[in-house]
Each structure stands twice: as C-alpha cells, then as structure tokens.
Symmetry: C2
Subunit: 403 residues, 2 copies
C-alpha cells in the first residue's frame, strides 16, 4: 500500500510540474507501468483532482489525451510578514487569487505576537476563501532576514530584532496538518517577477531583484533557478558597505546601504532635517507632527521641491546605484528588477537609480543588463510565496486524505 500511495504522489507531482502531460509520458517519468498510471489517473479524475486538457494535436497515429490538475482543487497560501504589515493570500492551482487580507502590525522584538498574528491571518483567509483544509497544499511565510536553508529558522532579522527564531518548526506545529515553509521575502518577490505569464517566466534568465522597503534586501535567480548560496543567506545587499565611515546600521555595522537608502533611513534623515527646519515643506506636509514623518512624506516633500528632501532622495538613489553596480560587476545578470515600497513614489526615483547605476557599473561589463521597475502589486511577496510552495519538491506529502 505504501508504494501505491507513493506512486499516487509521484503521478500528481509529475502532472503538477509537467502538465498538461499524457499518460505514457507520466509512466516514463515516474517509472511505473502504463496500466498503473491509468488506474491512478482514473481515480484522481473521479476525485475531481485532475482533468482532461484536450489531446496532443501533432504527429500521426493516436493522439493521446493530456491531463492537468484542476484549477479548483488545490490551493496555496502565501503570507508576507513585513515590518509594518501582514498580508495573506490564497491562490488556486492556476494562480487565480481566491482571497486576500492585510493588517497593519508592528512586530519589532516580539516574535510570539507576530507568530500568533501570522496564524490568525492564515485562519482568516482560509475561512474567507471557504475551502477545505484538505485542499490546501501548503503555506509559505515570507519575511525579511537571514533564513537558514532547510530548517526555515530565522537566524537574524535586523529590522525585526529577531535572532534564532525557529519559525518554520513553530508554524508547522501550530498549523498542523498544513505544510509550512519559511522563506526570505526578497526571494518571494523575485519569484513573483517570473510568475506564469510574466515576460521572463520559465526562461533561463539570470535575475537580480532588489527590494527597497523599510529595509533593503535582494534575491538572485540564476538561469531560471532560485539561488540560495552555501548557507541560504545570499542576497544581503542591504548590508554591503557603501560609505565606510557612514551611519550606524541596525545590523551593527556602519555605512551599510540600508543605513543610507532604506525607508527607515530616509525617514530618519527626514526627521533630522525637520527638527532643524520647522518652516520646511516637510514639516508642513505632516502638519508639524514630526513623528508622522515617514519615507513617503520625504518623497512628497521632495516632489514639492523641498531642497533638503530632494538631497535625501538623491543620496539614497546614489548609494543604491553604487550597490546595484557592484551586483552587476560581480554577477552580470540579464535583468535587475527594482521592487519594494520605495518605488511607489513616482518614476523619478527609478530614473535616478538607473542613472547612478549606469555611472557606477564597469564600462562594458554587464552591457546588456536591463533595469526594470518590479511589480508594484501590494501582494507580490505573498503571491510569490505561493509560487515557492508550488516549486517545492514533495509538495503533496501531507495530503494523506487523498488516498
């Protein structure tokens, strides 16, 4: 019986990863007989898990039937754990969004509360989507910071102030029987850029994706595959030194990109200049409530020609340019996606970033790299997380109810 169950999972995964696919191809891929495949696929069809996707139209002789997973059977949950928000989404097999939910939060220094909130959001979206637990393949929780490869432990998240939080283990226990994986938010964002239907989906492209938000991170996709690095911590471009004697960073170092160009850094610089210039446009924008100053306010003041705010934004772009040029010189990617909340403040910022990157990248190196505005969908990290669950091996391992 064990072997039969195992074969069912293998057939399902084969259809998931390669479908629409015909039965003979499944038999070859899984390494079982055609009659065995027919028996399993008949059962999966009867259970309304898979369906016909038409017939092979080319070639002579018999035109075999193609099978695919039904778009209304399996569902995937993605959660985006941001410093100031928590977003959850449920998508179907075909990527269709079933439901979504956002709540404002502040999870600095408090993993327990954050974990409770993550669980609440997941329960809420599952209820809202009105789907059976049994139809949920898994959950991917994406958050900023160093996530240990394999264990899904949060080794260090400077913006959350977390160290060594075994988040994946905790969530798997709390959310059983769901399968939960924890991934870095920048990888989820990068994964979303190559979502089905996107320009470079399923292409063997090398992509560098920078996320400019409250913090700064990045992810690299090499020849179409997510790159993790030797210990799973690659992509910490926010913590490369771009000004050796620069300001102190949350990571403990000085002059990191994040300490100069992140949303948090822009906010801090805005507050500093506002204190000294009570008549400035920036103070006017927040009605002199300086505690209300955030990166968005600084961008707005800059757009209204507040000279010091223009300087803050220009400086932020300058150091992002230096960091992206370093990434181009080292990695030579096909594409750079510039993502994250900071890019939602008008196109000038991206243009400045491009200008400084081009000025700093080595002449003739990475000549063909495209620098592109990333998706501005609020749910890009959450949706990318659902794709990361789909990319997992053994994704159906917890679905014992199938059999």
């Amino acid at each position: 019986m064990g072997a039969v169950r195992n074969n069912k999972k293998k057939v399902l995964e084969c259809i998931q990863n390669q479908g629409p696919i015909n039965r003979a191809a499944i038999a070859k891929d899984v390494g079982i007989s055609l009659p065995a495949v027919m028996s399993i696929t008949n059962e999966l069809e009867a259970k309304k898990i898979i369906r016909s996707a038409g017939f092979v139209s080319e070639g002579v002789g018999k035109h075999p039937e193609l099978l695919e997973i039904r778009s209304d059977y399996f569902y995937y949950i993605g959660v985006d754990v941001g410093r100031l928000h928590l977003r959850g989404t449920v998508v179907g097999q075909d990527g269709r969004e079933i439901t979504k939910y956002t709540t404002e939060t502040n999870h600095g220094e408090n993993p327990e509360q954050c974990i409770e909130d993550i669980c609440s959001v997941i329960q809420y979206v599952v209820e809202k989507a009105a789907i059976d637990n049994g139809n949920i393949v898994g959950v991917c929780v994406a958050m900023p910071g160093l996530i240990e490869l394999g264990s899904g432990k949060v080794i260090f998240s400077p913006n959350f102030g977390w160290k060594n939080v075994p988040l994946q283990d905790i969530l798997n226990k709390k959310l059983s029987p769901y399968k939960v994986i924890v991934r870095n938010a920048n990888r989820a964002q990068a994964r979303f850029e190559l979502r089905p239907g996107a320009e470079y989906a399923n292409k063997k492209v090398t992509v560098f994706c920078i996320g400019l938000g409250y913090g700064i991170g990045s992810a690299t996709i090499i020849n179409g595959n997510m790159y993790y690095g030797a210990s799973g911590t690659s992509g910490e471009i926010g913590h490369i030194t771009v000004m050796p004697n620069g300001p102190i960073c949350t990571c403990g170092n000085t002059g990191c990109l994040e300490a100069l160009s992140s949303g948090a850094a822009i906010e801090k610089q805005g507050k500093n200049i506002a204190r000294m210039n009570p008549d400035s446009m920036l103070c006017h924008i927040v009605d002199n409530h300086l505690e209300k100053i955030d990166a968005k306010a600084v961008f707005r003041a800059a757009a209204l020609n507040d000279v010091e705010c223009v300087q803050i934004i220009d400086n932020a772009a300058k150091y992002i340019g230096i960091a992206l040029a370093a990434a181009i010189n080292i990695l030579d990617p096909d594409i750079i996606y510039v993502c994250g909340g900071l890019t939602k403040n008008g196109s000038d910022f991206l243009e400045k970033i491009k200008k400084y990157t081009r000025a700093r990248q080595m002449k003739f190196a990475g000549r063909h790299v495209k620098i592109i505005q990333g998706s501005q969908d609020d749910y890009n990290v959450a949706k990318g997380a659902t794709l990361m669950i789909q990319d997992e091996g053994n994704m159906f391992e917890k679905l014992s109810f199938l059999y």
Copy 2:
C-alpha cells in the same frame, strides 16, 4: 564515415570526462552498441591513446575492464598573459607539467606585439616539450579583462588598455591547427584552486576567488561549475565602488577597489609618499631610485615599519575587506580563495584582509565561509588554463589526425 568519426570523438570524450570507465558504461553514455564501442576502443588502444586502468573490483559476476586516456598521449597548453609577464606551460593528460617558460613583458596598449609574444611562447614551449603538434588538444590563453562569452573577444581590459580585440579568432588563425580558447585569468586561477587532487576538487562547492595583482579581479564557481554571468563579464570586483569620492581608476570611474588596493594603486601611493619623504625607509629600499618603487617595495618598507607604508597596506586590506564582505553578503560562498601576487608578501596581509572582511560582512550571513590563502604557484593561472581546455566540450574536434 562521418558518423563513425563522430562516435570515436564521443567515446574519447566519454573516457576523458568519466574515465576510468568500462565499455558497457561507455556504450550506454554515448548511445551506441557494445560491439561498436569495442571496435573503437580496440583501435584507440592500438594507437596508444587509451589504456586499461584495471578491473571493477566490486559486485558479483564478471568484473569489467576499466579504460582511461594514457597520460602520455594528449597535451594541453596554458598561457598566462599578465601585465608584466607572459607564462606558458604544457601539461599532460594527468596534469603533469612537461615544461614551462616565463618572460617579462609590458603589453599596455599594444595588442599586436602581445599576440606575437603569445605565439612565440607557445611555439617555444611546444619545441621545449618535444611533442607532436598532433598530440596537442588545445591552448587556453588567460588574461585579465572582460572576455566575451563564446567569441573569446577581449571587450575591455583596463590594465592593458585594450578594447574589442578579437583575440581568440586571431590566435586560432595564427596557431592553426591548434584549437585556442581565450578566458579571463581570474577564472583560470579559480579553476586551478579546484584542480584534481585539491581539497575541494570535484566537490559541489561555491567558491569566490579574488586575484590581487597589478589589477584586481575575481571568479565565482557555483556548485562546482564555473560561473560566467549573462554576458560573460561577471567577477569584476576590482571595479566596484568602495570609496565613492575616491581616486580615479583605469576604468574611468572613481573609488574602485582596484584604484585603492591593487598592486598598481599601492605602487602609485608609495611613489607619492616617497616624493615627499626622501629620508623614508621606502626611498632607502630603492636607493632613492623612485621609479623602482613597486608594490613589493611598499610591502618591504611596511614590514620594516615605515609608518606610511604600513598605512598604505592597511588601507588596501581595509577596502579589500569591504569588497569581500560585499561578495559574501551577495553570494554566500563556501570558500573564498585570496590569490595573486600581492599575497606573496607575507601572511600579515591575508590576516588583515580576513580581519576587515569579518568586520564588514553581515553578522550571521555566510557564517561558515572559509577565507583561505590561494595557491601561490607562479603558474597557477597557466595551469588553470590547461584545465579549462580539458573542461571544454568538443575538445577533440580539431584532432582529425586521430582517424
């Protein structure tokens, strides 16, 4: 006949890449019948190209004979084109060095003379090695700069002042019937670090290899495979900005690592301070012939506690540390090899580089990365180049005399 010749090449390549290997495994790999393999391997044995490597010792039943390429049949030529030297080596199938040769040169701005010198060195080592042209599988010429993927064109080499020199095409014409490939010197150096017999040979390691010489470059090996990037120009760590308002670099930018920490930069800084301090240890070392000051002299003066030279070396290490920390944060490699002429000036320099890298890399990111002194063999680039020829597909394509 074409198909038969093609099969011979495939069998040879299979034995080259996978040997020692038995005939049945060759048949499976190449996709031809066992009798066909036996006919080809008999001929190759008779021509003394391959030989028996004993028998499979495990398992029951027949113990099939293993075949390998004879170490005294095929030879590979590697050339290291440095800014101030030209080195050639000939190695056998087993990596044994047959002969080597070094000449001092100065190839700035003059590709024609350099190409003539490369050809002379190759002809000289072939004569010295006393081997038949027909036994030379190919030549790999390694030099610093941006080498176009596929074409082997030198797009830009700041230290040589070259732009758009179709070096691989020119050398293939001049050196016919040899097959010539042109590669970046840092990749050859990195390849040599994983040479057969080395600690991490044939391991799926991710390696970042920095070359600190007259210029500064690097190469990355990901999971045991050489990484080139989308256009072949990855690894230009010498041209990432580490001091935004720093000195002008040969590439045209300002504040590049190479402009602060390379042999050329150390030499320049040494000459500057020597002019102002005629009584300094540095001036004494070169007998007041300031034109004789090079990086080595600055290192020697620093070792003798010339305060300003100590400062130059410390600064150079500091910026190398910043750049390596950036590479760790972005790539998260298993190993960093620190290579190149500058590392031949005592172990203090490597210790300083390690200290500054550790201070600058993000806390907990790339925790397990080892920073190791690379090979100090003068011929590491040339020997690495011979391995790059061996790594090539279709390496036997020019050996028509075989058939």
